[in-house]
C-alpha cells in the first residue's frame, strides 16, 4: 500500500481574538503591530485531524504555509506536534495576495510535492474570516471539497482494491449537519468543533529546536528516512541533499514555477479601498440606578413605550 499523502495548509495570524488594552490606541482603534502572531486556531484543528489519521494509517503529513519569513514559527510548531515535513512559501512576490492569489500559490506547492490524497486546512483564519482559501485551492487543484468539517467519519486509504480511496466526513450546516462522501483526492476545511489539538511534544521540541529554514528549490522526499525511528537534527550535505529526517523547506515563486502575474497583489482581483477602524463611541447610555426605584421607573417607561409587555 502506498503511503497516504496528507498536506495541511496553515497560516500565521495576528491574535485578533484577544485584543488586550495594550493593543488599543488612544483613539480607540487597534494597533495591529502590538498583537502577537499565533497559529490560526482552526488550522491547528486541521493539523490535529491529519495527525489522528496518521495514528491509524501509514501516512506522511506535510505542512505548508505562505507568509513572511517569521511565519516559519507555525511550521516549527507543526514539527513540535508531529508533522513529518514542513514547507515555507516566502517571497516578496507573494505579498499583498488576496484569497485568489493565495490559493494559486498554495495549489502550486501541493502540485510540486506531487499532489496529495487529502488536503486539510482550517475553515477560516481569524484575521480575515473569509473561509475562501480552502475552496479556491481545491478548485485550482481540481479536487472536490468538503467544508466546515466537524468530524472525519471514515477514510479508506488508496491502493489495491480501494482504488483511489475515499473519505466520509460530517459538516455543520444551519440547524443541523450533513455527511458527505468523496473519492480521494479531496480537500477538507476543518472547524474548531472537530477536536482539541494536541500540545507540542517536549521530545520533538528538543529534537527540532536547532533546525533552520533552508532554501531548497528542488523537491526530494527521500530525505525522510522511513527506516529511522529517531529524528535527527537537520544537516544538509555538500551536494545540497538533505540528510535529515525533517527540516524546513523554503520556496519562492521561481521554485513554484509560478506565473508572476497571478501572484501577490498583482494577481489579486480585490483591492481594499478603505479601512475604518471601529471606534467605540462615547457612551450615551442613560444610566439607571441598580435599585428598586431606578429599575421600576425604567420598566414602567419601556412598558409605556410598548417596548416591553
Amino acid at each position: 500500500m502506498p503511503q497516504l499523502r496528507i498536506v495541511v495548509l496553515v497560516k500565521q495570524v495576528p491574535d485578533t481574538a484577544n485584543v488586550t488594552g495594550e493593543a488599543m490606541k488612544e483613539d480607540g482603534t487597534i494597533n495591529r503591530a502590538a498583537l502577537p502572531a499565533v497559529f490560526n486556531p482552526e488550522d491547528l484543528n486541521a493539523l490535529e485531524e491529519a495527525l489522528k489519521l496518521r495514528d491509524r494509517h501509514d501516512a506522511r503529513v506535510t505542512v505548508v504555509t505562505m507568509g513572511p519569513p517569521a511565519a516559519v514559527q507555525v511550521l516549527r510548531e507543526s514539527l513540535y506536534r508531529g508533522a513529518d515535513e514542513v514547507i515555507l512559501l516566502t517571497d516578496k512576490a507573494f505579498a499583498g495576495a488576496d484569497t485568489l492569489a493565495t490559493s494559486y500559490a498554495l495549489s502550486l506547492a501541493v502540485r510540486k510535492i506531487g499532489g496529495a490524497d487529502l488536503v486539510l486546512c482550517g475553515r477560516q483564519a481569524i484575521d480575515g474570516d473569509t473561509a475562501q482559501v480552502g475552496p479556491q485551492t481545491a478548485e485550482k487543484l481540481g479536487y472536490p471539497q468538503i467544508t466546515c468539517v466537524s468530524r472525519i467519519d471514515e477514510l479508506v486509504a488508496p491502493g489495491g482494491a480501494a482504488g483511489p480511496g475515499a473519505i466520509t466526513a460530517t459538516r455543520s450546516i444551519e440547524d443541523g449537519f450533513e455527511t458527505l462522501t468523496s473519492t480521494l483526492p479531496c480537500l477538507l476545511t476543518v472547524t474548531g468543533e472537530a477536536n482539541d489539538p494536541r500540545p507540542a511534544s517536549v521530545k520533538l521540541v528538543m529534537t527540532y529546536k536547532a533546525i533552520a529554514a533552508e532554501a531548497m528549490p528542488g523537491y526530494d522526499d527521500t530525505y525522510l528516512d522511513p527506516e529511522s525511528d529517531e529524528a535527527e537534527i537537520c544537516m544538509v550535505g555538500r551536494d545540497g541533499r538533505p540528510v535529515c529526517r525533517a527540516r524546513i523547506v523554503q520556496w519562492d515563486h521561481v521554485a513554484l514555477e509560478a506565473d508572476r502575474e497571478a501572484l501577490g497583489l498583482r494577481g489579486s482581483p480585490t483591492r481594499v479601498k478603505e479601512i475604518e477602524s471601529v471606534v467605540l463611541a462615547q457612551s450615551e447610555a442613560r444610566m439607571v440606578q441598580p435599585d428598586e426605584a431606578g429599575i421600576g421607573e425604567l420598566v414602567h417607561e419601556l412598558i409605556e413605550e410598548h417596548i416591553l409587555g
Binding site: 466546515c148 450533513e178 462522501t181 462615547q282 428598586e292 419601556l302 417596548i307
Partner: protein, 372 residues
C-alpha cells in the same frame, strides 16, 4: 453553451431547500433590485434544484424583485453540492456575463462562491454587511459604478470597503439578516429561462445548456439532518442575552427566567457558549446570529466587537454590567452598573408589577408576541 451575451446584470444565486428559498436569498433580491435600478440594468436570479422545487420557487423570485430567473432543474441538483452547483453557476455567468453576483453568506453560499470565483478568476468578498455603488480612482484611471463590498474584518476591529475594479463579475457573499426583506409583489412580471441540464460520463462540447459529468458528482450526500429550529432569535421581539458575567450554567437560569417573564428569547455571547453554559444556537454575534429586536437586554456581556456586530442594530439596548467601562455601554441606550444577580430579580419584580407597584401582569400578556 450559447454565445456569451454581455447582460451586465445584477445576479443573486438563490439557495433553496425543497422549494423554499433561504431568507437571505430573498433579502438579497431586494438589495439587488436597488443596485440594478441604480445601474439601470436588470436583476437575474440563478435557481438550481430538482424540477418540482424549481417550478415552485421561480415565481416567488420574480415577486421579490427578479426580472429573469435562470432555472436549472435536474435530479442531480436536488440537494446542494459544491461541484455540480459551481458548474451550473460558472457556466451561466460565462454565458450571460453579469457585472455583480451575490450569494448568501450561509454554509452553502460560502462553500459555493469561492469555488466559482476561482474557476472564473474573479474577486470575491466574504460575509459583507453592506453593498453600495461608488467610484474609485487608481493609477490615474477613474472607475465608475463599482460595487463597494463592505465587511467587518480583523476580528471585527475594522470595517473594510473592498472593490474589484478590473474583474467581472464582482462577487460577494452577504450575511443573513442585514438586508431588509422586500415585500413580495405578485403583480411583478419576469421571465423564467429554463436552462437545460443533462448528465454525461465525460465532458462534451455542448451548444445548448449545461452538462454535468462524472467529475461533478464524485461527492455524494450520505445524509442531511436538519432539526426544527428550536431557537428563533431572528424573529424575537425581545432578546435577553447572557455573557461571562453570568458566572455559571446555574446563573443562566436567571437570564432564562427574565426572558420567560418578558416573553423574550434567550441569547448568549460566544464566551458563554464556549464555557458550555448554553447551546451554540443561542449565540449572537459575528459567528452566531445577527438580531435586531425591539429590545435587547445584555446581562454580564462586556460587548466585544464581534458581539456588538450581531446586536447593535437593536431598537433599544439595555446593558447590565458591573464594569462601568464595559464596551457594551457604548452601544446601549440604558445602562445599569451593578451585579446582574441583584438587578435581574429587580427587573422581574418590576415587570410583574408593571414597574409602578401595580397589579401583576397576567401571564398571557407576558408571553404575547414573544417567540420563546
Amino acid at each position: 453553451m450559447g454565445e456569451p451575451v454581455n447582460t451586465n446584470d445584477v445576479w443573486v444565486v438563490v439557495e433553496q431547500h425543497d422549494g423554499v428559498a433561504a431568507e437571505v436569498s430573498l433579502e438579497l433580491l431586494g438589495r439587488a433590485r436597488e443596485l440594478a435600478d441604480r445601474l439601470d440594468v436588470r436583476v437575474g436570479a440563478v435557481l438550481a434544484g430538482a424540477d418540482d422545487a424549481v417550478r415552485a420557487l421561480a415565481p416567488t423570485l420574480v415577486a421579490h424583485g427578479a426580472d429573469t430567473v435562470y432555472a436549472a432543474a435536474h435530479d442531480d441538483l436536488a440537494a446542494y453540492l459544491a461541484l455540480p452547483y459551481s458548474t451550473v453557476v460558472s457556466s451561466l455567468i460565462r454565458e450571460h456575463r453579469p457585472q455583480i453576483v451575490l450569494y448568501g453568506a450561509t454554509t452553502a453560499g460560502r462553500d459555493l462562491a469561492p469555488r466559482v470565483a476561482s474557476a472564473l478568476r474573479t474577486g470575491l468578498t466574504a460575509d459583507c454587511t453592506d453593498l453600495r455603488i461608488g467610484d474609485h480612482a487608481m493609477k490615474g484611471e477613474e472607475y465608475r459604478d463599482l460595487l463597494y463590498q463592505i465587511r467587518p474584518a480583523f476580528g471585527g476591529n475594522i470595517v473594510a470597503t473592498i472593490i474589484s475594479p478590473l474583474h467581472r463579475p464582482q462577487m460577494a457573499t452577504v450575511r443573513e439578516g442585514v438586508m431588509v426583506m422586500p415585500e413580495a409583489d405578485g403583480s411583478r412580471s419576469g421571465t423564467i429561462v429554463e436552462v437545460p441540464v443533462r448528465r454525461s460520463s465525460s465532458p462534451v462540447h455542448d451548444t445548448d445548456g449545461i452538462t454535468l459529468t462524472d467529475a461533478d458528482l464524485v461527492v455524494g450526500l450520505v445524509r442531511r439532518v436538519q432539526e426544527e429550529k428550536r431557537v428563533d432569535l431572528k424573529g424575537a421581539r425581545i432578546v435577553v442575552a447572557g455573557g461571562v458575567g453570568v458566572g455559571s450554567r446555574e446563573g443562566f437560569a436567571l437570564v432564562e427566567e427574565l426572558a420567560h417573564t418578558v416573553g423574550g428569547v434567550v441569547g448568549a455571547s460566544r464566551a458563554a457558549v464556549d464555557a458550555g453554559w448554553i447551546a451554540h444556537d443561542h449565540q449572537i454575534g459575528q459567528t452566531g446570529t445577527t438580531v435586531r429586536p425591539k429590545l435587547y437586554i445584555a446581562c454580564g456581556i462586556s460587548g466585544s466587537v464581534q458581539h456588538r456586530a450581531g446586536m447593535d442594530q437593536s431598537a433599544r439596548i439595555l446593558a447590565i454590567n458591573d464594569d462601568p467601562l464595559a464596551p457594551i455601554f457604548s452601544v446601549a441606550h440604558y445602562g445599569v452598573v451593578g451585579d446582574l444577580h441583584k438587578v435581574i430579580p429587580l427587573l422581574i419584580a418590576a415587570y410583574k408589577t408593571k414597574g409602578t407597584g401595580g397589579e401583576p401582569v397576567p401571564a398571557a400578556a407576558a408571553s404575547d408576541g414573544g417567540a420563546s
